[in-house]
């Protein structure tokens, strides 16, 4: 028998009204604007765009505000919004070599074309709380210098010597898969894995990347290059017969270079892991590149001995919208399920007690 229970409507309506009140907080304080969130909490906005897999700063900022700063809730809201929009098409692949670079560092080469450009980084700060931000002191304008030469990609430098593998080719005739269009299947080709990792949870990927460093699927990595900046997004217009630019987006790219001792088929050379993420998110791009490399076990005939190398484990659990949906659904009413289980445990307990009493009687009989 299934019994539908009603009666939550008023409670739900009032709970949402209370949520709106708590979200607004003290009315004596000014309300934060979407523009303020975009400008002053930009990295929160970037994370929401990356993991919602939807690039739109204003909508992501709206989601952050609506979610009271709960990142996964904001990601969920933005991910849900995207399902309401039609798909116009696929862009031309973005060209990170022509990026308008805002930051570029390499841990493998000190002097390289374009130089080490620190950009707006937290690195080398002392991580001390800054009281000047409490009183909102005037911030000085950034320093300026005449820009230098083109910021060359590090992978192109190593490539000239043939000591590093190429950028990554899929088999002849392979068409890039799209997670938003087809159900997941394993084994999953690298292009689809990269799409899943690009929208994967930063914390989960960070932990997996960390695990590879601690010995669970060791990859011995170097950051060949991390670069952050704006790239053009171009869309082919069939009615015109050429691709036009739609504007620019900011992305973070990480080229991780890894040791490889070679195999019967391949000479010793450096292999690579790749990270590409919407917005400014170095931690995520680096984690992604480490996990990408760890997952390429089939290409290098590596044994799967650690969680980060297991693509079904990694890809199936990287999406925080799916994860939160399944974990958090447990708090929703399970009254009937639980009632059924309660009845079952009561019956089992009765049988257990009966068996024990019967057993004791039997023992007595045997003793007599």
């Amino acid at each position: 028998m299934y019994v539908a229970v009603k009666g939550g409507e008023t409670a739900i309506a009032n709970a949402h009204r209370l949520l709106a009140d708590r979200r607004r907080g003290d009315r004596a304080l000014p309300s934060i604007t979407i523009e303020q969130v975009v400008e002053q909490l930009g990295l929160a906005v970037d994370r929401v765009m990356a993991e919602a897999s939807l690039y739109d700063c204003s909508l992501a900022a709206l989601a952050v505000r609506q979610a009271r700063g709960d990142m996964i809730e904001a990601i969920f809201i933005l991910r849900a919004y995207r399902t309401t929009l039609p798909r116009f098409g696929y862009s031309e692949p973005i060209d990170t070599a022509t990026m308008k670079v805002e930051r570029r560092v390499s841990a493998t080469y000190k002097d390289l074309p374009g130089g080490q450009l620190l950009g707006p980084t937290f690195d080398y700060t002392h991580r001390l709380l800054d009281p000047s931000l409490i009183v909102d002191e005037t911030v000085v304008e950034p320093a300026a210098k005449e820009p230098g030469e083109h910021v060359m990609r590090v992978s192109d430098i190593l490539d000239g010597e043939g000591l590093i593998e190429g950028d990554g080719e899929m088999p002849e005739g392979h068409v890039a898969g799209d997670l938003t269009r087809e159900p997941m299947e394993f084994p999953m080709p690298r292009d689809l894995r990269l799409q899943a990792l690009a929208r994967g949870d930063e914390g989960f990927l960070l932990a997996l990347a960390y695990s590879t460093q601690r010995g669970y699927g060791r990859t011995h990595p170097f950051v060949g290059e991390v670069r952050i900046g704006e790239v053009e997004v171009e869309l082919d217009l069939p009615e015109l017969g050429f691709a036009v630019s739609l504007g620019t987006i900011r992305v973070t790219e990480c080229q991780m270079v890894n040791q490889f001792k070679g195999s019967a088929k391949q000479p010793p050379q450096f292999t690579r892991g790749y990270g590409l993420v919407f917005g400014q998110s170095e931690r995520k791009a680096m984690s992604m590149s480490l996990v990408d490399r760890a997952l390429r076990t089939d290409e290098f005939s590596e044994d799967i001995v650690a969680p980060a190398q297991d693509q079904e484990f990694v890809i199936s659990h990287a999406d925080n919208v799916q994860a939160t949906g399944f974990v958090e659904h447990l708090k929703l009413p399970h009254y009937v399920d639980f009632q059924a289980e309660l009845d079952l445990v009561r019956r089992m307990r009765r049988e257990y007690e009966a068996a024990r009493t019967g057993g004791e009687d039997g023992m007595k009989e045997a003793a007599e």
């Binding site: 696929y90 990269l194 869309l235 036009v244 590409l276």
Partner: protein, 157 residues
């Protein structure tokens, strides 16, 4: 219409139009509205498609230059308009601002009309100048964070 199609066949004009569309995609609404108001003999504008907002799947390349993969989507607004003088224009840009997309389409259409091309080119130059100045300022700010390594000489001679 045939005459317009023929004009577009010229690769020079097509490339100029393509560059114009790149600039219009970055124009602010104020720039577009200002330029529209400055046009004296405005043709009638009829919508053909949109303005509408949708998604484009942004693709990246494995390793930066390898085979493509799907990175994630971006919001895009687009519009197609027809002028009373016959020209058809397309506007498409990142974001959800349909008014900007519609204005971009109008200026793409105006670019194809001899009567208005000069005015559109002026707008193109105005947008380009602003973007170049912004890009240059950002590049200068980044350049100021470039590390100048120097080596300390140690040891006996």
């Amino acid at each position: 219409m045939d005459a317009i199609e023929e004009r577009e066949a010229s690769p020079e004009v097509a490339s100029q139009r393509r560059e114009g569309m790149r600039l219009l995609a970055r124009a602010t609404l104020a720039e577009l509205v200002g330029a529209w108001e400055a046009i004296a003999d405005k043709p009638e504008v009829a919508p053909v498609r949109g303005p509408e907002t949708g998604l484009v799947m942004v693709r990246g390349r494995i390793g930066g230059g390898g085979d493509p993969f799907n990175l994630g989507e971006a919001t895009v607004s687009r519009a197609t308009v027809r002028l009373s003088t016959g020209e058809i224009g397309h506007g498409q840009l990142l974001g959800t601002d349909k008014e900007r997309a519609r204005h971009a389409a109008i200026f793409d259409a105006l670019f194809q009309s001899y009567a208005h091309r000069a005015a559109v080119e002026t707008l193109h130059r105005q947008i380009a100048a602003r973007i170049d100045a912004e890009d240059h300022r950002k590049a200068e700010e980044t350049a100021a964070t470039r590390v100048d390594f120097f080596t300390m000489v140690r040891g006996e001679d």
